[in-house]
Amino acid sequence: METIINTTKLDVFRSHLTPTAINLPSAIVQEVNAVLDQTDFPTTRQEAWKYTRVGKIAAISAQQGITPSDDTSFPIIDQEAYTIHVVNGQPIWTTAQDKLPQGVHIKTLSSCNEAELQQLFEKKIQGIDVFQALNIAYLTDGLFITVDENVSIDHPIQLLHLNTTDSQVSNVSHFISAHKGSKASFIIGSLSSANSNSFTNSSLNVHVAENATLTIDKLQVEEEGNLIVSNELVTQENGSTFTINTITLNGSLVRNNLTIEVDGTNCTTNLNGAYLLKGNQHVDNHTVVDHKQPHCNSNELYKGVMDDQSTGVFNGKVFVREDAQKINAFQSNGNVLLSDSATINSKPELEIYADDVKCSHGSTTGQLDEEAVFYLRARGLSEASARQLLVSAFISDVLDKIENDAVGTFIDDVLSNRFGWQR
């Protein structure tokens, strides 16, 4: 009998990758490989990828495993933070492990035993997509971070991802568990310095236990030409507060899948995002806020400025499940197009199954107000600086929500270097 072998783009992509060296239970590895064997990269015919083509990722012939020596210096966002660099998918302890604050435990996945890994990964493999499956099957490494009960950390923990060589593919997976009553903040940065085609496929699972407060500032400032797909799953318990600020300023293709399951009462969830694009950048933010329990608040604000031939995609979804009464969920997306070749695709969605709720969403797309530009010009500002001022005012709604000054300064530096203006 003749057998027809169809080689998919995914098969070709996988042939360049090295299977994970992490001690994952074999059942899990088998399952994700089974998923990968049966599928291919998503196409724009799939609703979740309608506006984003992943051809650039599929075309990478991955280079793997070059780890620079520890003494190389890498960029740091917040000098006071506890820092771990993840270089080409491998963690490097920039702050020595014994210098970590009390009550914070950080372990690399490569140092975890099989039982621990089983616990971390068993829930992850349900209904995974191609990128999540790739992340596990070719996992380079990751961190398992716990913050003990009622511990409050003085400075943030910063995880900075870098790919230093072209076509480097890093599959990293982190787990953050904030125990009851704890308070912590994180800076998660993607700062690849490679020239082109490095790809970070990251995964982050966050658990925020009762009355814990967790803040994440996520900065995506890859050198132009590098690619990111990131999947985040956050679960919240009673009375917890979770805030995430996603700022995307560079990188040729960035896709963020942020899912927040609010599985407790009296929770607060804040999602803020800003994307400033130019050149041929393509940035896609998919967010899901899933309200499963009553008496919660969620606020979502995403703003974007698109210049040149760049494309911005926003897809925000708010679920309010049956019985999740007294929910206040607000979602807002604002966009400014600075060029006629730029594109924005916005899809704010609401799916509501409970009646005693207050939910709203709004989406606007427009351009700078010519009258406002005129007003500023009449007061002696140049055309360029008048526009910069207006863009800056527009985007500041989001940027001002970042509480960490060091992160703010870092963003300002990027803005002035890349866009030539100051906030």
């Binding site: 609703e47 506006y51 049956e322 019985d323 009464q325 966009n335 197009l337 600075l338 060029s339 006629d340 070749s341 730029a342 594109t343 924005i344 695709n345 916005s346 899809k347 704010p348 969605e349 609401l350 799916e351 509501i352 199954y353 409970a354 009646d355 005693d356 709720v357 207050k358 939910c359 709203s360 969403h361 709004g362 989406s363 606007t364 797309t365 427009g366 351009q367």
Partner: protein, 481 residues
């Protein structure tokens, strides 16, 4: 077999569906199933020209390759397309010379629907093209319209009498390959309405068509084509009620509007197909493709009040092709019991300085699911395009759902797009206010709902607005717990 007051009283008692009765007119039916033979049979029955048969067959070929869409937020048992009768015409095939020749039973049916022909002819300025089981049997005011050069007739008559116009415009807005149901319709459509307004003519009356599914198990595949020539104006009304049935009936219509330069078309719909009983059994599947194209400075306005159907899947759209053209969409969608509605609009901005407005009001009660799904697309050359969308949802019980899925795609930097959506229930303070002033809770809710929908109802022509308000009240009766 008169319809006595007692029977009427009984019907009202049942109250499940106001217009659930069957007219006993023998139908000239095609055998069940769908194949090339059936299509040839329909075409032959209707004495169609060769090009139309070819159109049908081509559509059928395309349809066979297509799969049913599944992206809508609705769940239902897919109809078996081989278990449907695709052609059924009332037995009398001869055309009526005058109103007196019309079958008395048919007149009775129309009376029950509240559209007494005599009254309409005498009192109102509404010309009615009454479609019963796919074949048009009564057309009025034809002569008067003819004076102005307006063509308003059944689709099959138009094919015979105005083949050039039909050939030119049919399928130009909704191509037969457009989607699964449009392709199916293109292959098997039996009748519908055709309307042509000549250059510079303002149609003096509201044109309306009453559709009605009659024979059990007969899918209705209507086709409506409205062409408004340069500088003309027409207001077209469409309303439907269907008899109570246990099995699901499929309704896959295609409506095409063409507004040439400076023309305006106002298309209003009151949809009240049988929604199924309290347990979600039966009901009509309403999978409709409606689309209009606007040339320079033309305007198309869709207004719809959707209260019926078990499953609705309907997106009246505007292609704003010409510069300075305008598209409007006003919708009230009410779902009760187990009804599901996935409805909205598409506004495709191609021309410069085009404008669109979307006002959508969803009301869900019982265990129903109500979704708004809309697309606003600004193409590269559509400078200064403007869109405003507002989608509000009202939830009446804790078992229903209200969803919003807007798609906004913008490729032009001078466009301004606003989208706003809110979801909430009726405020207790509002009800309290009414109760305090001696208004019963049910009345209070009706009052609030009517106020909530006012923006849309105001867009309806007078005759429809009254009917629509009644429908809203009926649809929500007993839904508040």
């Amino acid at each position: 077999m008169g319809y006595t007051e007692n029977e009427l009283a009984k019907d009202l008692e049942n109250q499940e569906y106001k217009f659930g009765f069957v007219t006993n007119i023998e139908s000239d039916k095609a055998p069940k199933g769908l194949n090339e033979g059936i299509i040839r049979f329909i075409s032959e029955k209707k004495n169609e020209p060769e090009w139309l048969l070819e159109f049908r067959l081509k559509a059928f070929e395309t349809w066979k390759e297509m799969t049913e869409p599944e992206w809508a937020h609705v769940h239902y048992e897919k109809p078996d397309f081989q278990d449907i009768t695709y052609y059924s015409a009332p037995k009398q095939t001869k055309k009526y010379e005058s109103w007196d020749d019309v079958d008395p039973e048919l007149k009775e049916t129309m009376k029950k629907l509240g559209i007494s022909m005599e009254e309409q002819q005498r009192l109102t300025g509404v010309a009615v093209d009454f479609v019963m089981d796919s074949v048009s049997v009564a057309t009025s005011f034809k002569a008067k319209l003819k004076e102005l050069g307006i063509v308003f007739c059944s689709f099959s008559d138009a094919v015979q009498e105005y083949p050039d116009l039909v050939k030119k415009y049919m399928g130009s807005v909704v191509p037969m390959t457009d989607n699964f149901y449009a392709a199916l319709n293109s292959a098997v459509f039996t009748d519908g309405s055709f309307c042509y307004i000549p250059k510079g003519v303002r149609c003096p009356m509201e044109l309306s068509t009453y559709f009605r599914i009659n024979e059990g198990g007969t899918g209705q595949f209507e086709r409506t084509l409205v062409v408004a020539d340069e500088g003309s104006y027409v207001s077209y009304l469409e309303g439907c009620t269907a008899p109570q049935r246990d099995e699901n009936q499929l309704h896959a219509a295609v409506v095409e509007l063409i507004a040439l330069d400076h023309a305006e078309i106002k298309y209003s719909t009151v949809q009240n197909w049988y929604p199924g009983d309290k347990d979600g059994k039966g009901g009509v599947f309403n999978f409709v493709t409606k689309r209009g194209v606007c040339e320079k400075q033309a305007k198309i306005s869709w207004t719809q009040v959707e209260t019926g159907s078990a499953v609705t899947w309907k997106y009246p759209s505007c292609i704003l092709k010409g510069d300075y053209s305008i598209g409007e969409f006003y919708s009230v969608a009410v779902t009760n019991n187990y009804q599901q509605a996935d409805t909205g609009t598409k506004m495709v901005h191609l021309g410069k300085n085009t404008k669109s407005t979307i006002i959508s009001k969803g009301i869900s009660a019982g265990k129903s699911q109500n979704s708004y799904r809309g697309l606003v697309q600004i193409h590269k050359n559509a400078s200064n395009a403007r869109n405003f969308s507002q989608c509000d949802s009202l939830l009446m019980t804790d078992e229903c759902g209200a969803h919003t899925f807007p798609y906004i795609e913008c490729k032009n930097s001078s466009a301004k797009i606003e989208h706003e959506a809110t979801t909430s229930k009726i405020g207790e303070d509002q009800i309290f206010y009414c109760l305090q002033r001696g208004i019963s809770e049910e009345k209070a809710i009706s009052l609030i709902v009517n106020g909530y929908c006012k923006e849309v109802l105001n867009q309806l022509p007078m005759e429809f607005a009254v009917e629509a308000q009644k429908l809203l009240a009926i649809s929500l009766e007993g839904s508040v717990g």
